[in-house]
Symmetry: C2
């Protein structure tokens, strides 16, 4: 792989982070490990299973570290992501998005054959019938719409119907329920987020009661995110957490109070290192990271280091950005490295082929992002 | 490569576009060829050299088609893009962004050694001196800032100084001037755009006069974009066009009047095919293309086909989007394909590993995007 070839000679060389070709996606291994340990301890303490979402990192190396620490497996957003991580030896995968169409049904059946621990969310009888017809062993979880109308069955009656169809199919296993409150994760204050999640969880409880009454008590109730994990644990309805962003954090989540307490439970572990490639103006310099190097739907990337305190970033097209120091302060010089945090981690990671794993400024590894671009 | 393996069996099968795994990046080969022919004819008619920008497509197959039609080579935005297209056999590459830093200097020297037709833009004496010290033959063009302060020397005096240094270095060749009016390309009306470009071109003419007076008359004056190509030709100062987006068009350029005439000179050739993966609500359906499948800084992707006239798209997170039909009209059904145009082509292409080349609904080829992600 291109990135590995290019940077392999820097591995273990002191201070080698500064010598990386830029823009470079960088993961601080110590911070990542502390985030993994903190969430694992939290899940253990609260009695929840942990199945972190791999859509955030798309990397077998990070999935292995999460599982080694105690996760029961990982979630994948797409079939292609699950194929890539299965190829890389990851087990215990839950595909969280429903699939549809003949070719996807065929691929899911094929993947289930070689990945006996695979499970998948489903929200429509047609897909259950198609997989039942394929006669491949697979565990299906009923995806319940939390009101966002993105995916999931629309009500308790539809959940009962779908669970019944799964349970009735000889090759299929009814694995439980998925309930992911996506739009609530980034509500800024803990109190407002708690109110919103509690209201949605009351609805989920009603659905679970209906399933129970139908003799379809779900063995697993999976959902939750980094923004809601403490609330989900406290409410006690979910049995499994699908948290993703906690491993990296990003500006979106850094702006949220995740704990209702003063100290944030996770720290920034994901960075983009850029370099000043044009410096002909006193008020700004141009770095080599633009629209193709950051998620762009969540604001600008925060400047972390390499530029004077208070410097800001502005997108300057596809390939570059401006770093603007506070008035009267000199900008960084030509060739200097400026480091950013990600505005939103998932779509930022999806732009790169590999992580540069660093400890104290030294490159310690290059981790391929096996599922990058695997949206199909 | 993954995408090729997956879809190779569909090549040449009638109607096979509908069987692609989604989301899929699709190029309409006939429309692409018409766009290439139209721009080549325009350049020939106006006596301009054509060096289309490969940052738009990042593909050797498309670069080859542009060169076969008459282009003198292609532009690359980054060193990594130029390395990837050189590896794929493309010649006549101009790297349009300045580079900086020891490792980039080393890579540029190495690339110049194996690509004798390589040329690069430069805007700082340090980089000229570093390449001069490497004693590798390379043609440098002086990048002149059109006022955006993104890249380029700040004034005529700096242009003269830099050109003189290039001309004085034994291994280097002074190749001329680059002047790219990035911020003017998307001004909506032709008249306003013309006024802005004419004003900037008057400044460029002053710089060229100063170079001429210093005995540094530039052999090439390269610049221009899809938005300004007719204006640039009319003003007659540029000798070479760097147009990129004309091959695909996108919503951004579809909203611009490119010709001052009624008929748009180029047509949409780039699409994203998605599939309905959840359909449990009467008012909207969910397709499998979200933030990871489209550029997100240029608005929402327009619905092209597969949904009722007047349907709109809304992003629903990283992995999905909503397709919303007009009030009272039924949305597409589960498993159906919905096709979108790109909001902005360059960063959309940068998310995919390959193009699915189609003619009349039949897959005729899979074209790898060799320079995808090569921002470093």
């Amino acid at each position: 792989m291109y990135v590995e070839d290019l940077h392999a000679h820097l591995i273990g060389r002191q201070g080698s982070r500064a010598a990386l070709n830029t823009p470079a996606l960088v993961v601080d291994v110590d911070a990542l490990e502390r985030n993994i340990a903190a969430m694992t301890a939290f899940a253990r303490r609260t009695g929840l299973a942990l199945r972190p979402h791999a859509k955030t990192h798309k990397s077998a190396e990070i999935a292995r570290r999460q599982i080694a620490a105690g996760a029961v497996g990982v979630c994948c957003a797409k079939l292609g992501e699950a194929e890539a991580l299965t190829d890389a030896g990851i087990e215990g995968i839950l595909i969280t998005s429903p699939i549809a169409g003949a070719s996807a049904v065929e691929r899911l059946a094929k993947l289930a054959t070689r990945a006996p621990t695979l499970r998948a969310a489903v929200d429509h009888p047609d897909v259950v019938e198609a997989l039942a017809a394929a006669a491949v062993p697979l565990t299906f979880l009923v995806d319940v719409d939390p009101g966002l109308h993105r995916t999931g069955v629309a009500d308790a009656a539809a959940a009962v119907d779908l669970a019944r169809r799964i349970a009735a199919a000889p090759s299929l296993t009814y694995g439980g329920v998925q309930f992911y409150c996506g739009s609530q994760q980034h509500i800024e204050t803990y109190a407002d987020r708690r109110t919103a999640i509690a209201e949605r969880t009351a609805y989920l409880s009603d659905v679970l009661t209906r399933l129970d009454e139908a003799g379809l008590n779900p063995p697993v109730v999976t959902g939750g995110g980094t923004g809601s994990h403490r609330i989900d644990a406290e409410l006690g309805v979910l049995t499994e957490l699908q948290v993703g962003s906690y491993i990296f954090m990003d500006r979106q989540y850094a702006d949220c109070d995740l704990s209702g307490e003063e100290r944030a439970p996770f720290e920034t572990a994901l960075f983009v290192d850029s370099r000043v490639i044009s410096a002909n103006h006193p008020m700004l310099v141009t770095v080599d990271a633009g629209l193709k190097c950051f998620a762009t739907e969540a604001g600008v990337p925060p400047v972390v280091s390499g530029a004077p305190e208070g410097s800001t970033y502005r997108f300057m097209g596809d390939e570059q950005g401006a770093v603007i120091p506070p008035k009267g302060v000199a900008p960084p010089r030509l060739g200097e490295v400026v480091t950013f945090a990600a505005p939103h981690c998932d779509p930022t990671v999806n732009l790169y082929d590999a992580y540069h794993a660093v400890k104290d400024g030294t490159l310690v590894g290059i981790w391929p992002i096996e599922a990058r671009g695997r949206s199909a």
